[in-house]
Symmetry: C2
C-alpha cells in the first residue's frame, strides 16, 4: 500500500509488531493470559506500554492473535495421509514432525499448553471444530490400517494423544526435563535420541509392520 520509502531506517510496522509478538509470546507462555501483564511485555519488547496497545488494540486481541499465529504454524505441517499410505513412515513422520515443531516454537507450544490448562476459554471452538475433525479423519484412516492387518487394533484416538503428549512433553516440561537431566537445555543429540526412542516404542508397540525394507533401515535403532 504505502510506498517503501524509508528514508530513515525506521523499524517498519511489521518488524515492530513481530517484536511485540515475540515478547508477548514469552510472557503469556510463562504466566498464562491472566498472569501476564502488558507492562512486562512492553519492557521485554523495549517499548512503552502505550505503544503495545497502539499496535495491538488490547490485551485480549494480542493474545488471540498469538493463538491464531500458533494454529497457523501448526496447520502448515499437517500433511495429508490416505489409507494406502504406509503406517510406519506416517507415524514416524508424525512423531518427528511434532518433535521439530516443539523445538521450533517452544514459546508457542507453551502458550497453547497454558491456554488448555486454563480450560481453553479462547480455544473451545477450535478444539470442538477444526481439531476434532482432524482427529476424526486421521482416526478413521488408522482404523483402516488396523482392519487391513497393518498394525494392532489400538484405539486411534489414544494413539494420537500418545504421540501428542510424548512429543510435547519435552518442550512444555522443559524446566522439569532439564532440571532432572541436570542440563540447561536439550542437545541435538538428545532430541535425536528421544525421537528414535519414541519411534521405536510406538511403532513396535502398535505392531506396525515395517514396509519393504528400503535402504533406510535404521528407523528403529535403539542405541544412542
Amino acid at each position: 500500500m504505502t510506498a517503501v520509502s524509508v528514508t530513515h531506517e525506521s523499524p517498519s510496522r511489521e518488524r515492530i509488531e513481530t517484536n511485540i509478538l515475540v515478547a508477548a509470546e514469552q510472557v503469556f507462555s510463562q504466566h498464562g493470559y491472566r498472569g501476564a501483564s502488558l507492562q512486562v511485555i512492553a519492557d521485554q519488547a523495549g517499548l512503552p506500554k502505550a505503544n503495545i496497545l497502539y499496535y495491538m488494540g488490547s490485551k485480549q486481541a494480542l493474545y488471540v492473535r498469538l493463538l491464531n499465529r500458533m494454529m497457523r504454524r501448526w496447520n502448515e505441517v499437517l500433511e495429508d495421509i490416505t489409507p494406502d499410505s504406509d503406517p510406519a513412515t506416517v507415524l514416524s513422520d508424525f512423531i518427528r514432525t511434532k518433535m521439530v515443531l516443539g523445538q521450533r516454537y517452544p514459546e508457542g507450544s507453551k502458550l497453547f499448553a497454558a491456554e488448555i490448562l486454563a480450560g481453553a476459554p479462547f480455544l473451545s471452538d477450535y478444539l470442538a471444530g477444526e481439531l476434532r475433525d482432524w482427529v476424526a479423519s486421521r482416526a478413521a484412516i488408522i482404523r483402516q490400517w488396523s482392519d487391513q492387518g497393518k498394525m494392532d487394533a489400538v484405539d486411534p484416538r489414544w494413539l494420537i494423544f500418545l504421540i501428542w503428549s510424548a512429543t510435547q512433553h519435552y518442550t512444555e516440561y522443559s524446566a522439569q526435563v532439564s532440571g532432572i537431566l541436570g542440563r540447561d537445555a536439550l542437545t541435538d543429540d538428545d532430541l535425536e535420541s528421544i525421537s528414535t526412542f519414541l519411534e521405536h516404542v510406538i511403532l513396535k508397540g502398535c505392531g506396525v509392520t515395517l514396509p519393504a525394507p528400503k535402504p533406510n533401515t535404521d528407523a528403529c535403532r535403539v542405541d544412542k
Copy 2:
C-alpha cells in the same frame, strides 16, 4: 498441644484450612501463580479475603503449601522396585498408578503443570534434588533389566518421561481431550481403555516379556 475443647461446633481450624486449600488449588491450577488472585480464591472458598491471609499468611505461603501437599501425595505412591522385580508388572503398575493419581488429584496435577510451565521457580530445588535422584535410581534398575535381556535397550530416562507424559496428558489437557471427544469428562470406561492401551503399547514397544499371567488384576483400584 491445645485441648480439643470445641464446646460449640465451630468449623474447626482444620476444616477451614482444607476448604481454603481446595479452593486455592482450583484457582492456582487454572491461572498459575501470578494469574491467581486472593479475592477469587476467597470467593471460591466463601470467605472474606482477609480470612485467607489470616490462615495462610501470604499468597506465596499458600502456594508453596499446595505444592508441598501435592509432592507428598506423589511420594505416597512411589513404590520400591529392585532389579529382581518383574518389568512387566512394575511398568504396568507405574502406568496405572499414574493414571489413577491424575484422576484423583486433577487440580493438583494441573498446579504442578502450571508451575513447570512458568519455569518451576518454586520447584527447581525439588526437580534437581529429590526427583532427579528418584529418576536416576529407577533408571539404573531399568538399565539392569535391559542388560539382563528382560527388555529392549531403551534409554530409561526417555521411558520414564514417556510414561509421565502419556498419563499426565489426560488430566492436564482434559479441556482438549474432552473438547475433541465431544464429552464433558472421561468416563471410567475411557480410563480403563486408555490404561490398557498404554500398557499394551509401552510394554510391547519396550520388548517387555510378559510374566506368568497372574489372576491378580485389580492391583490399582481407584476407590476412595
